[in-house]
């Protein structure tokens, strides 16, 4: 039940509501709403991206400047990325080697001359190179890969080790003595890679493949001289690759190859010594000896190249043969003079000469023989002799004469 006061208040409210007040003017409404929109735009979240609208209009007028700026930025970023791409060890080594002219190991075998490789002997020795290292070396420098079945690669050092001989051992010791006694003796060493390259080029791919096949079928057959020749090349390559790839690891390959080849083939590398210390590749020694009896012009080994015509001279001039025999009898004191007298032709004396040289077992004896050879060589005027006794023995051994009986 409403009170008297309540009823009075209700009457006043009714009367007040009847006094219809004016409504808000339109111009006041427009001003307030416009102000509200303006203030709302300042705090609107989408206003953060309003610069994109401005940027679009700016791009319409300045697109060329924008494109130029972006292009320069892209070039700068790409150059910076190139600086961060570190070259591989192989690339560094090959680049360094290229500066020394030994990077051209990747010799493409040319099939234009189907030569018959028939090496009769391969005496190889590899130092500081294990069988397990060979595949690694092969992988470390893929540019050095020959067209050779990789499955045959591990067999190469095994055959090399088995075919090691006292001749090469003597040569190795003599070379060390010569290098230590006479600094100028180092000049007798030729560039390993260039020699190796020439030797490789003298081997036709057909013959190389044939050699590989014979190696795979007959295992470590000593008569598979073609395979041995290929193995020699492979070993040379692997040694070089190992020396390059390992960077600071010193790899020395004293004796690499010594093979007799068919008349159509000049020679293969007989020895190589690669040495590298802290990226500085030094070729110690690589002597390749080769001789082609029927075609002397095809001789391409470094030794033959340095003594052109010596084999021809010896083959044609019996006086030269006799001079050489006499000289060697003074150098190799242990020769049986009776045997020399009985076998006057040089071709019959090569085997005894090599045998006498192989009997030089201890270093003092070898050093004495080397000294005698140097002395005799100084007074020898018949023709030019190789600089060292080892080279001369290599030369003789490379001649295709019968083995000693």
């Amino acid at each position: 039940m409403p009170t008297k006061q309540d009823l009075d208040d209700a009457e006043l409210s009714v009367l007040l509501s009847k006094a219809e007040p004016p409504k808000s003017p339109q111009h006041v409404d427009d001003y307030i709403l416009a102000h509200a929109r303006t203030q709302a735009g300042a705090s609107e979240p989408g206003s953060r991206w309003r610069f994109l609208v401005v940027s679009k209009s700016w791009l319409n007028q300045n697109w060329f400047s924008a494109v130029a700026t972006i292009s320069v930025a892209v070039v700068a970023v790409s150059l910076s990325f190139q600086n961060f791409v570190a070259p591989s060890v192989d690339e560094i080594a090959l680049t360094s080697a290229a500066g020394r002219g030994i990077a051209d190991f990747d010799v493409e075998l040319d099939a234009t001359a189907p030569l018959r490789v028939q090496a009769t002997q391969s005496l190889l020795s590899v130092n500081e190179l294990s069988v397990e290292e060979l595949p690694v070396a092969e992988e470390a420098s893929p540019t050095l890969a020959l067209k050779v079945d990789n499955a045959n690669l591990p067999t190469a050092p095994q055959s090399l080790a088995l075919n090691d001989s006292p001749v090469l051992e003597n040569r190795r010791r003599e070379a060390n003595l010569e290098n230590s006694l006479s600094p100028t003796a180092a000049a007798s060493s030729t560039a390993a890679v260039s020699s190796l390259e020439r030797a490789e080029r003298s081997v036709a791919p057909n013959d190389a493949i044939a050699g590989i096949e014979s190696l795979s079928t007959s295992g470590l057959d000593r008569d598979s001289s073609t395979a041995a020749a290929v193995d020699t090349l492979n070993a040379s390559r692997l040694l070089a690759a190992n020396a390059i790839g390992n960077g600071v690891e010193r790899v020395v390959a004293d004796e690499l190859a010594q093979a007799r080849v068919a008349p159509s083939v000049a020679s293969v590398a007989s020895s190589a010594s690669l040495q590298e210390e802290v990226g500085d590749i030094v070729v110690e020694e690589l002597v390749a000896v080769g001789l082609v009896r029927s075609n002397p012009q095809a001789a391409a080994s470094p030794a033959a190249a340095t003594r052109p015509g010596l084999d021809t001279l010896l083959a044609a001039d019996t006086a030269a043969q006799q001079s050489l025999i006499e000289m060697l009898t003074r150098v190799l004191i242990g020769l049986d003079q009776n045997e020399i007298a009985m076998r006057a032709p040089l071709e019959d004396l090569i085997a005894p000469l090599i045998s006498a040289y192989n009997q030089l077992a201890d270093e003092p004896t070898i050093a004495a023989a080397a000294d005698r050879y140097r002395d005799v060589r100084l007074n020898f005027t018949a023709f030019d002799l190789p600089e060292s006794l080892a080279q001369l023995m290599d030369f003789l051994q490379a001649l295709e004469y019968p083995e000693p009986r």
Binding site: D8, L12, E20, P21, S24, I32, A36, S43
Partner: protein, 189 residues
């Protein structure tokens, strides 16, 4: 019914506008613009002054939107600002709203209105007489009465006018009594 349930509160609209939704403010303004204008009109019949105060009130709401907190009803917030604007206006224009307005002889204007018999009283709309009677009240009594008519509680009015509830109750009672007295006197005949 469904419209009432889905009606967005004033506070939600204000918070949305705070986040940059101008449409929310438009809805809010549409809800309260006429009532606020009516309140101002009943407080002061000069339309030019009312428009100015109404505009200043809404601009103050807009400018302070980023600091708005929904601690009270938006309508209370809105009318409190409008009330202050009115008080500021009265102060600037030397209106004595603290005491009942009196004439030069010191008698209450309300009493004078009640005692004065206007020859045109019959022609005057009762509602308009009520508005004139409101003008005869003190500003405190007038504001208390008008704010109550706008639906605010005594407590809310006390907060808005910075006083206590008992004072508001007394002012409202005094205003009602005098308004009825005036109207009764005018239409007694």
């Amino acid at each position: 019914m469904l419209g009432l349930l889905t009606k967005i509160s004033d506070e939600s609209l204000m918070l949305k506008y705070q986040q940059g939704d101008s449409s929310s403010f438009e809805k809010l303004y549409a809800r309260h613009k006429d009532s606020l204008f009516a309140y101002l009109y009943r407080s002061h019949v000069d339309l030019s002054v009312i428009e100015e105060i109404a505009q200043e009130t809404w601009v103050a709401i807009i400018d302070s939107a980023k600091n708005y907190r929904a601690a009270a009803k938006f309508k209370t917030y809105l009318y409190a600002i409008a009330h202050r604007k009115l008080v500021d206006f009265w102060r600037k224009n030397k209106f004595d709203y603290l005491v009942d307005r009196t004439d030069g002889s010191g008698e209450s204007i309300v009493e004078n209105i009640a005692d004065t018999h206007s020859p045109s009283a019959d022609a005057i709309d009762l509602s308009m007489d009520l508005l004139l009677a409101l003008e005869s009240l003190s500003k405190e009594q007038q504001q208390a009465f008008l704010l109550r008519e706008e639906g605010f509680s005594r407590r809310e009015i006390a907060v808005m006018t910075d006083t206590n509830e008992e004072t508001i109750k007394s002012r409202i009672r005094y205003a009602s009594t005098h308004l009825k007295r005036i109207l009764e006197v005018q239409y007694a005949d």
